[in-house]
Every structure is written in C-alpha cells, then in structure tokens.
Amino acid sequence: MDEFNDSEIARLLRLKRYEQPPPGYFENFLHEFHRRQRDELVRQPLWRICLERAHNFVWQLNVGSLTSYPAAVTAVLLCAAIISIKIYQQPETARVALQSPPAISVPASAEGEWNLASPVATQILRTQPVRSFHESAQTHRASPPRYVLDSVPVSYEPTFRF
C-alpha cells in the first residue's frame, strides 16, 4: 500500500481532537487559576504588591484618558493651591519662631540693609539682634525699634518654638 496521502494524514491528525483531559478538568480550571494567582500574590514582597496596586490605579485613570486628563490637571492645580494657601497662612508663627533664641549664632549687624537679592528670612535674622534667653522675659521700651514687618507687639513675650 502506498504511503499515507495528504488527505489521510489530515484525517489522522483531526482524530487528535478526541484526545481530551480528564472529566471535569475544564470546570475546575478556573478555580485552580484563582488559587495559583492567590498563591503568587502572597509570595510577592509587600513593596511589589503596593507598586502594582498603585500602577493599576493610575492605569485605570488613564483608560478614559481623554476625559480624566482635564480632571487630573484640575486636581493637581487644586492641591497646589491648597498647599500654597496653607504656607502663606503661617507667616506669624514662622516669624515668631525666628525671634526666639535661635540656634543659629548669626552676628547681628547694627543696621540691616534691605537687599532684594537677599532672602527675606535672612534679612529678618540679620536685622534682629541676638537676644539671650533671660532677656526675653523683660519688656524693652528702651530697646531698639522693631521694624514694621514685625507684627508682634513689643510687650509680648516671644514664643519659643523649636
């Protein structure tokens, strides 16, 4: 008999479709898949899990990127505005902290020269004479005049802030 022709080979190969896994294999496959995924997740280090979760969260936002992009930009601007407001709402406490005996031993210049090139904080330090701890409890009617920028009354004791 001649060798198998192409048609017979094709028929023989199609019979391989009848090779099937054990009964219930396909029904159980999904459960097995979930179990393996859980096992793999548990084996991962915590930082990797957090990174993947963060990545998935960001990716979800980008799915509708055309609609969420303006929202994302708005959110960023809003956060920046809130942070800026909070910073600018703390001038008094910042300056009072600077008036307390500083750890910085900056020699006080007799007269501070305002220079736009110099940072304001540096100017405040330079214009204020270094005061010792004991002096802070006394009023200083005869003390050198404070500058206008200092909004704290002379009679008030400075608040020590660290």
Binding site: M1, E3, F4, N5, D6, E8, I9, A10, R11, L12, L13, R14, L15, K16, R17, Y18, E19, Q20, P21, P22, Y25, F26, E27, F29, L30, H31, E32, F33, H34, R36, Q37, R38, E40, N56, W59, Q60, V63
Partner: protein, 228 residues
Amino acid sequence: MNSSVALPARRISDLLSSGLEARAKSKRDAMDQPRTDPDQELVKRTQAGDAGAFDELVIKYTPRLYGLVYNMTSNHEDTNDLLQDIFAKAYKAIRGFRGKSSFYTWIHSIAVNMSLNFLKKRGRRFQLSLDDVDASIQNDKEFLELTATSSPVREADLSELQRRLNEAMMKLSDEHRAVVTMFHIQGMPHAEISKILRVSEGTVRSRLFYANRQLQNYLDEFRKNPVS
C-alpha cells in the same frame, strides 16, 4: 484576582459550549471582512477592573487553548502548567491590549509563543503524557472511513494509533508542529495562522507542505508495522 462569586456549574457549561461553537464560527469569521471583536465587551470590562469578565474569557478559551498547547507538547502536565501561565500573562498584559487584532488572535499569539519558548527550554528531554481518547471517536465518520480504507488504522488499536501519531508529531520541529496543530487539528485557516505567527500566508503554506512530507515519512513505519 479573585471572583467574589463562584460561577454556577450551569453557567460554566454554557460558556464551555459557547467556546466550542466559537471553534466552528472562527473559521467562517476569518474568511469574512473584519468585524467587531465578539470579545470586545468582555475585554473592556476586564480592562476596567472587572475580574469576572476575565473569568468568562478564561472559561471560553480554555478548551481551545488546551488543545493547541497539548498538541504542541504532547504532555498533559506541561499543558496544564503552561495554560495557567498563559492566562496569567494575558491578565497582566490585557490593559495594554489596544484591539488592533481580535482578542482571539491576541491570546493565541501569547499561547503559541509561550509554548514555543517552553519547548525550546524543554529540548529533547520529555516524555509523552497523553490524554485519553474520547470514546465518541468510534462514531466519528472520518475514523470509520479510515478504518474501512486503511489497513494500518484498522489493525492498530486506538492507543497504538494515538502513540504513533504523537511520536510522529514530536519529530517535527516546534514551528512546523505549531502550524500542523493550528491547521489540521484546530481547523484554523491560513490567514488566521499567519496573523498569530506574524508570518506571511506563503510561509504558513510552505511549512504545512514540508510538515506533511515529514509526517508521511514518519508514519511510513506505522504503515508497514501497525502493531508494534
């Protein structure tokens, strides 16, 4: 990834049968003009974070991908492990799926590439671990015709026939075996195979031609000595 609610058995069987129907439908669809991907809705839901949608894709494609991987590896245990890895990779990569091809083509590409990589690592160190042949083969029209017309097939019992066929398949190169599996066993058209393998249709046809010649040689021994 967890499904908060287990799918009922009836739902699973419905999805399995729809997967089997998809096998026949895929052949017709491949010849038609490009149409809307039938899995598009499930893919979108999965990308949006619906794990249940991916579960439905798993149930739908498991039988088909199992056949593909099993016939490339001829080992049930390797097939099971590979199939788990294939769906795990697909789940991780699905957010990057842009729909340039159908999900069917996409996941088959993943399955074929991972199987080929696995086979390269496995090399020659393997042993057959074959699934049982379903008893309904006795009623298969083509099987009955073969036993009627071909004496080797008639004389050999089913297990011998199965072993000879698998041994012949494993003698092919991995790439040729992939094409034979997809065309003859899975029933895919040349166009679909070329998309999955990212080669031209001419390459697919030439690989099939060469593989058929090889199988004729390998099965010649079976023809001469059907009963070992």
